[in-house]
């Protein structure tokens, strides 16, 4: 089935099974492999992308349901070879080790309200698991990014 998708501001037409997971369509049909598969069960958040600004697990979304919606993935962050401020904040704070959780963490962080408290950051990232870095550095990075946002 031909589906029209909007991803990171670009229009694509893909020929995929409508029930194909958005995660697989992004990785296999659009070669956007930044979005990771951790658990494939909605538990880990590694596959988090934004649909019309809301964080979702791409491993639980059939591609047909995003027709007409704006999808944003980690590839949409950097532009012209320049890192997004959120990516810069992750680097500055040492908030990534193996990096598997990182794209999902960043997409979930992007959906946070601008003036989030630490409590809100923790709640907003509760659906994203990290097995190596530990959460404090990740919260620090996100807090730094959000603080910059206020200025």
């Amino acid at each position: 089935m031909k589906l029209k998708l909007h991803v990171n501001g670009a229009k694509h037409t893909v020929e995929v099974a409508p029930m194909k997971r958005l995660l697989d369509t992004l990785r296999e049909d659009l070669a956007l492999t930044g979005t990771k598969e951790g658990c494939g069960e909605g538990e880990c958040g590694a596959c988090t992308v934004l649909i019309d600004g809301a964080a979702v697990n791409a491993c639980l979304v059939p591609t047909c349901q995003v027709e007409g919606a704006e999808v944003r993935t980690v590839e949409g962050l950097a532009s012209d070879g320049r890192l997004h401020r959120l990516q810069r904040a992750f680097l500055d704070n040492g908030a990534a080790q193996c990096g598997i959780c990182t794209p999902g963490m960043m997409m979930a962080a992007l959906a946070l309200p601008k003036k989030s408290s630490l409590e809100q950051i923790r709640a907003g990232l509760a659906g994203n698991l990290c097995r190596c870095t530990g959460y404090m550095k990740i919260y620090d990075a996100v807090a730094q990014f959000l603080a910059g946002e206020k200025r």
């Binding site: 029930m19 194909k20 964080a55 697990n57 491993c59 709640a123």
Partner: protein, 281 residues
Amino acid sequence: MIAAADLTVQRPRTLKQALQLLRDASAENQPLTPMAGGTDLFVTLNMGQRPSARYLDLWAIEKLRGVEATGKRGLVFGALATYTDCIESKAVHKRLPILVDAARQVGGVQIQNRGTLAGNIENGSPAADGVPVLMAADATVVLRSIDGERRVPLAAYYHGYRKTERRADELIVAVEVEVPDGTQRFDKVGTRAAQAISKVVMAAVGHRLAFGSVAPTVVRARALEAYVEAGGRDVAEAQRLALEDARPIDDVRSTAEYRRRVVANLVAAWLGGLDKPPRTR
């Protein structure tokens, strides 16, 4: 990876089209499986199981979205109302604040953005978190087929483990609640606050009490409710009566013994707060 090529899906834009498709499919004995946020269905598919090869996607039916306040204490949840919709609704905060508590504890934000109350109900898990809240609030499930509508009390919606009242040609189109008076309380006892399936859930609205994860379906604690309604306040007796309806088993998440103790403790805490004025926000 799932074998998506073997699965078909229909995507009606209107409720009427959806109901007609359901009717035609069940007339041919090839029922369609409704799909909302997919947070239960896709977990099953990802595990390599195939609950069905034919789906009816409801996500594009705009009319089924959102939460509406009616009258002085009513709430109507469209079939596509998500946990996030509940968290963001002023009316839900005011009238049924324990549903906001429950919604905030369902999965993470990603699940809250997609998971629906109707999906939580129809999925039929005894460990569902939205269901006990709605059941304690005397919610009504509105089922519709192409021929018309019928209303079923949520407390009478389950016939056994994952067996619901819904016929193959019906959809849940809404969930209606006239929130009863009285103190509200929600307790979810699990391994971790977020992203964990509960070991025991208790929801209370006034004298109405529902438990999750203690029986093949979410259950009302009828024996205890009758006792309290008649003025009974003895803790030991209340705990004994709660366990007439709450009959937990051992499973991967917990043991029957642990669950019985949690039920008893929650009942004691609930009784202690029962005659205090209802909390406001």
